[in-house]
């Protein structure tokens, strides 16, 4: 079986003069929880819509579950095996919750009525209420339910936690974990860094249409470091521009280095330059994200 559930090659999308996605080479591994991070307008939703064949790439190609995304026939095949929750959670406003679940369920051969029933209870959704009268959080829950009640090979979620309260977010994450344990691959975009930091195996950071980071969280935790140095006389910055050093800030006799790897070499170097103080601290995903986007 193919190791990757999503692969893109130089995938690009331009709208008139704006390049929303630029030459994206993405590979999302099977049986992983992969988080897709980026600022508003970074190109996340555009990418997801291209993967699902909802918009046509300007250039490049891609496959989802081994099917070409731009081939109409293959795209139809892949969408039977992918469950998707869109950013704006589109639903029919005039239907009730109950009708929506029955209506959507009738389309899928992999529909799991037992799970739908359980989630309706867990999410405390009012069965008889019309969708247009639901709160934002309830709409999100209903949209999630419709995706979770299937048995897809791949779940693609665009901002799944939007509008959810902390209890709802916790529940969502547990459902993600449970699906992952059953062998469903998950690809989700999010702004909730704290939740990503807990459940994700892999993190992709997109900025201005370009992929800046594609690494496992284990790797990020192990190698990304902030190193604070104090010298009695400051060495030139260029001395510390070695591989792995992403950013250097100096203030007075202090130097602050943001490294994506090679922290040990930086420390050795600092000792050679007789640093008075050397402090190494790990970086959280929030800091990594902010630093990465700032650099760009």
């Amino acid at each position: 079986m193919n190791e990757n559930v999503i692969v893109t090659q130089a995938l690009s999308k331009s709208y008139r003069s704006t390049e929303a996605v630029r030459g994206l080479n993405l590979s999302v591994r099977r049986n992983r929880i992969t988080a897709f991070l980026g600022r508003n307008g970074a190109g996340k939703s555009t990418t997801i819509k291209m993967l699902l064949g909802m918009i046509r790439p300007s250039a490049g190609s891609g496959t989802v579950l081994g099917k070409q995304i731009t081939d109409a026939g293959e795209n139809c095949e892949l969408r039977k095996r992918v469950a998707y929750v869109a950013e704006d959670k589109p639903l029919y406003g005039y239907m009730t919750v109950e009708q929506t679940v029955r209506f959507v369920g009738s389309f899928y051969s992999d529909w799991r009525a037992d799970i739908a029933k359980k989630l309706l209870q867990d999410y405390e959704l009012p069965l008889r209420r019309e969708v247009k009268l639901l709160s934002k959080g309830m709409r999100t829950k209903l949209a999630l339910l419709l995706a979770f009640a299937r048995r897809p090979d791949l779940l693609i979620l665009d901002e799944p936690s939007e509008g959810l309260d902390p209890v709802g977010i916790e529940h969502l994450l547990q459902t993600l974990v449970a699906h992952s344990a059953e062998g469903v691959s998950i690809f989700f975009s999010s702004h909730q860094i704290a939740e990503v930091e807990r459940v994700a195996d892999q993190v992709c950071i997109l900025d201005r249409g370009c992929l800046l980071v594609d690494a496992s969280l284990d790797h990020l935790r192990q190698f990304y470091r902030r190193i604070d140095l104090v010298f009695s006389s400051l060495p030139p910055e260029r001395e510390f521009r070695i591989s792995g050093v992403e950013r250097i800030q100096t203030r007075g006799r202090q130097m602050c280095i943001f490294a994506s790897s090679n922290a040990d070499a930086v420390i050795e170097h600092a000792r050679e330059w007789n640093a008075v103080s050397v402090e190494v601290a790990p970086l959280g995903l929030r800091e990594i994200f902010l630093e990465t986007v700032k650099e760009n």
């Binding site: 974990v177 704290a194 930091e197 970086l283």
Partner: protein
Amino acid sequence: MFLKLTPASGQPLYLQLMQQIRHAAETGALKDGDQLPGIRTLAEELVVSPNTVAKAYSELEHDGFLELRHGSGAYLCLKRRTRSLADQVHVARRRIRDLIERLRDDGLLDEEIRRVFEAELLYAAEIVRKR
């Protein structure tokens, strides 16, 4: 056994999990032959990726610390080595307590002592990794 992972620390979650299970065994919270929760159960409880738990379990199995029986779960197997480790930890605690007392006498604040410890530990970790 209560486990608590710290996502923002500079250590992969599977390593944190391994250490906490080891620690629970060293302190006696877990005993030889005890069954650990299944991968899915523990992943849902901790709300972490099942891959994290699976990796921790398989590494512990590799170290001879855990026995994975297909379909029935994970069982702890403690050899004598871990018991002597428990004694070592006990001794280490006492030494560190003495050291901290001395540093306090020298006028260092607890926060400063903690930073020095963390910096040294991280530095050592970086060097070990390099080798």
